[in-house]
């Protein structure tokens, strides 16, 4: 090989190596660019914070939504020296002007069994938009378990009231029982009095005065009992009123839960139907396939065996 040719060969290799290296660098840059886009490095964002009592349900990368749109994400969840949890959130600058300083961050579930997200509840002062390092108030939204818990908490006093009322009614020393006893006694007195009165009518008017006295006493007793009843009833009615209020509040909660899950239910039922249909189709297919088809009766009309015996009849 001549020196000239050798040099040309070397140049050729050098050119190819250069092209390869440039290509590799371009691919590397492209990959870095994609990573940057994915990580929102190219989006202008503002960091804000909120503090929570515990980190339950909060995680890095969690979506931050505002009126249903994703406006940022949770960048970090860390514990502070005072045992609170600091959550760093990155918000797209594009939406920043919509979020007021007094906006709240609320941890909610998107559906009964959906993912948790941080929802920004808009504040009342949208002119003062959040800025870098603003701190929002945090609250936890009610999930199904919390609702059930609050429902149980609200039902507890109702049950206690009902128990108390029942106990008061059943208590032999209670007002109501005592009133009833007294009424019973008065009724007995009245009966005796009526008997005596009848006797008097037969024998004359000898004991009219004493009966009249007894009648007065009996009427006094009835009057006293009615007074007791009068004083007891308002208390009972008040208790019944507060019980009814609690029942009303509980019903409202149940209605809220039902409304929240109403959108999900038709989809859930539809999916279940589709699942059952698929299962049925698979089962039908399996029933027609060896060896399973041997386990099922054949899908053919079956003739009852002819019975050649006829019960003899007497002519």
């Amino acid at each position: 090989m001549k020196p000239n040719q050798f040099n040309q060969g070397l140049q050729h290799i050098e050119q190819r190596t250069r092209r390869f290296m440039l290509g590799a660098a371009a691919v590397l840059l492209l990959a870095l660019l994609l990573i940057a886009v994915k990580q929102d490095y190219l989006v202008r964002s503002t960091t804000i914070y909120f503090f929570a009592n515990n980190a339950q349900g909060l995680s890095r990368g969690m979506a931050v939504k505002f009126i249903g749109f994703k406006v940022g994400s949770v960048k970090s969840v860390s514990m502070e020296p005072n045992a609170t949890v600091r959550v760093r959130v990155s918000l797209d600058d594009e939406y920043l002007h919509l979020i007021g300083q007094d906006a709240k961050a609320r941890l909610i579930k998107e559906a009964l069994v959906g993912e948790s997200v941080v929802e920004i509840i808009p504040g009342t002062q949208p002119v003062q938009a959040v800025k870098e390092n603003s701190v929002l108030v945090f609250e936890r939204g009610q999930d199904a378990a919390t609702l059930a818990e609050s429902l149980a908490l609200q039902l507890e006093p109702i049950l206690n009231d009902i128990r108390e009322i029942t106990g008061s009614i059943k208590n032999p020393e209670g007002d109501l029982q005592r009133t009833l006893k007294n009424l019973n006694q008065a009724s007995g007195d009245m009966q005796v009095m009526v008997k005596q009165f009848t006797r008097l009518a037969v024998s004359g008017n000898q004991t009219l005065d004493s009966t009249s006295g007894k009648l007065n006493r009996a009427l006094d007793s009835v009057n006293a009992n009615l007074q007791v009843l009068d004083s007891t009833l308002p208390g009972l009615l008040q208790k019944a009123d507060s019980s009814l209020d609690n029942v009303q509040a509980a019903t409202a909660d149940i209605k809220l839960m039902t409304t929240e899950s109403a959108g999900e239910l038709p989809v859930f039922i539809h999916n279940t139907n589709a699942l059952v249909q698929d299962g049925q189709d698979m089962l039908d297919g399996a029933k027609r396939t060896w060896p399973f088809r041997n386990f099922f009766p054949k899908a053919e009309p079956e003739l009852l065996p002819v019975d050649g015996y006829v019960t003899p009849t007497k002519p």
Partner: protein, 268 residues
């Protein structure tokens, strides 16, 4: 040479295995929804029939027949019509049973398989036998035999019906002969029909005074009917055993069998 042979053998073995597996994996032909519906009704009716719920069975067979008529499934129409005739015979609705059978036998538009026509004719014979019209029964039995080919599965049934017809005419000897022929055919094909043959043989033997034969045949028939769970047949066996003991001069035993039969009649 030897290696080549082994190689060929292996290939052949693999091919055979593949053919076998493809046969096993074969899927039954897909039936349309109406056909499957009709079959489903038929299967439910069969279960009701086996449990003695004849009214339910009739309703379900009617539903099955309606579906089969809608899609002109000839086999289904024949099977369900025959089943309806059979159910109505058990329910004692002989006119309706005859109507179903006539619809099948007089249908010129559809071509039914000979076995169905033979079955219908046998059912007609049984219905006439039940009405004690022995001549008509004999006539229909002849038609059944004519429709039934050599490999017809009804030979045993036809022999049983003929045995009953001749017994009805008082010819116990011929009845015995037909009963034996029927028992020979039915022994290995149908336990229910074999029990029928035994019952007919016992009745003929009773008429002929051959009590020991009758006793053993009735006991065997009773065991079979109990194993098949057929209350009406069990009752028949017990009544024949009562007749046997009466004939043997054992009124106490006869009364006991009658009591057992009566309990079956009044069973819920």
């Amino acid at each position: 040479m030897s290696a080549t042979t082994i190689h060929l053998r292996q290939i052949l073995f693999l091919l055979c295995a593949l053919c076998g597996l493809s046969g096993c994996g074969q899927v039954e032909p897909v039936r349309n929804a109406k056909q499957l519906h009709a079959v489903e009704y038929g299967q439910r009716a069969l279960r009701a029939f086996q449990l003695g719920n004849y009214e339910t069975a009739e309703n379900l067979y009617q539903q099955a027949l309606r579906r089969d008529v809608e899609i002109e499934n000839i086999d289904g129409i024949a099977v369900n019509t025959l089943n309806l005739a059979r159910v109505n015979r058990i329910l004692g609705r002989t006119a309706r049973a005859h109507a179903y059978l006539d619809a099948l036998l007089q249908d010129d538009a559809l071509q039914y398989a000979p076995v169905y026509l033979a079955t219908a004719a046998t059912e007609k014979a049984a219905l006439y036998l039940q009405a004690n019209d022995l001549a008509a029964a004999e006539s229909w039995l002849g038609k059944a035999e004519a429709s039934c080919g050599d490999d017809c599965p009804l030979h045993g049934v036809i022999a049983n019906v003929r045995s009953a017809i001749v017994l009805g005419t008082g010819d116990a000897v011929s009845s015995l002969a037909w009963g034996e022929r029927a028992a020979a055919v039915n022994r290995n094909t149908s336990r229910m029909e074999y029990a029928n043959s035994l019952r007919l043989l016992a009745a003929a033997n009773l008429s002929l005074g051959q009590f020991e034969n009758a006793r053993s045949q009735l006991n065997e028939a009773l065991d079979l009917d109990k194993s098949l769970g057929l209350p009406l047949k069990i009752r028949e066996d017990l009544l024949l055993l009562a007749r046997l003991h009466d004939a043997l001069g054992q009124p106490q035993q006869a009364k006991r069998y009658q009591e057992r039969a009566a309990r079956l009649s009044s069973a819920p």
